[in-house]
């Protein structure tokens, strides 16, 4: 019964979170704290901290975190499955439509209009990721920051990484792991 309830809760979180990332946050809070009382507020804050530090979409992190706490590993698996089921259904339908009608001129035109917008959306997200990396203080942005907020080590690491990526076509995974390992040494000394 608890499995069914958890599947259904995370199904709704997957279904109604538009726009990705933190758009899912209020939905998770509503389902997990208000309706089902699976977590209290402090545990929810812990969940957010973990999500910020670890890879993976926040909704999936929440599914595993809540699932494990309520019903162990099977709970984690069922909550995760519930969370991705709406995506699977909707995306497969859209994909079929896309491949069936992609040669229609209206669809062609729509796709031509979309592509530059997608590039912009990625670029705008890039700006927030960049400001997360170059500012030490939480909340400092490109628009408002003081010199003390700037993390110069990070800027140097970004410059070196960018040079390696563009000049030598370095593997992105190695670049990320490399800056992580350098971070352990440099930030521990400072």
């Amino acid at each position: 019964m608890i499995y069914l309830q958890m599947f259904w809760s995370f199904f709704q979180i997957g279904l109604f979170s538009f726009g990705g990332g933190y758009a899912a946050l209020p939905l998770i809070e509503h389902q997990v704290i208000d309706i089902n009382k699976w977590l209290n507020l402090a545990e929810f804050a812990d969940l957010l901290t973990i999500s910020q530090m670890t890879p993976g979409p926040i909704a999936l992190n929440a599914a595993t975190f809540v699932g494990t706490k309520v019903a162990g590993l099977p709970g984690a698996i069922i909550a995760t499955a519930g969370c991705v089921t709406p995506s699977c259904i909707i995306i497969l339908i859209l994909a079929r439509l896309y491949y069936q009608y992609k040669n229609l001129s209206t669809i062609q035109g729509a796709l031509k209009g979309l592509r530059p917008a997608v590039v912009s959306l990625i670029a705008s997200a890039g700006i927030s990721i960049l400001s997360l990396a170059i500012f030490k203080t939480e909340g400092a942005t490109i628009n408002s920051f003081s010199i003390n907020d700037i993390n110069f080590i990070s800027i140097i690491l970004i410059a070196i990484s960018l040079f390696l990526l563009r000049k030598f076509n370095a593997n992105p995974m190695y670049v990320m792991l490399g800056t992580g390992v350098i971070g352990i040494f440099v930030y521990s000394i400072m």
């Binding site: 726009g19 670890t54 595993t64 699977c88 959306l121 670029a123 960018l162 990320m176 992580g180």
Partner: protein
Amino acid sequence: MKKDFKFYKTLFLSTFSLSAFTVGGGYVIVPLMRKRFVEELKWIDEDEMLNLIAISQSAPGPIAVNASIIVGYRLAGVLGFLVSILGTILPPLIIITVISKFYDVFKTNKIVSTLLLGMRAGIAAVIIDVIINMVGKIVKSKNKVSIAIMIISFIAAVIFNINAALIIIICGIFGSSYYIFKLHKN
């Protein structure tokens, strides 16, 4: 490309490592996915990849999950989609299961926090690299309409904070009306 065991292994390992190493949500994983499947493996071309990303952004659910579903489906149908979604959901499942058991130790560990702090710089650099490639391609195409759409939607997203799904829908409608208008004129 041949749909043999090696193909599925590469697909699984690609989505698994993308999901395991990208801290920071869907917008981080999408450019990296493009780099992997378009530039490194050359399984999908640039235009089609951008179409697939647009579809995954206009549907509900985590973008990383949506993008891996549609890329897997495009490459190898239902089996491809099952392999790529498994690769995407396993890393958070494993990592969060382990961390929730050792959370107190993890929270205060200096090595973990400095590692993550350092990785932020690497992730930022990778994303800048990808953005330079993508913007460069559109600028080089010298297509004035595309360049205008790119600039306007960038302003809409960054300065006016307009929802991504809305921007995509509006640009899609604009694109198809523009195309029909041009067709009628000729």
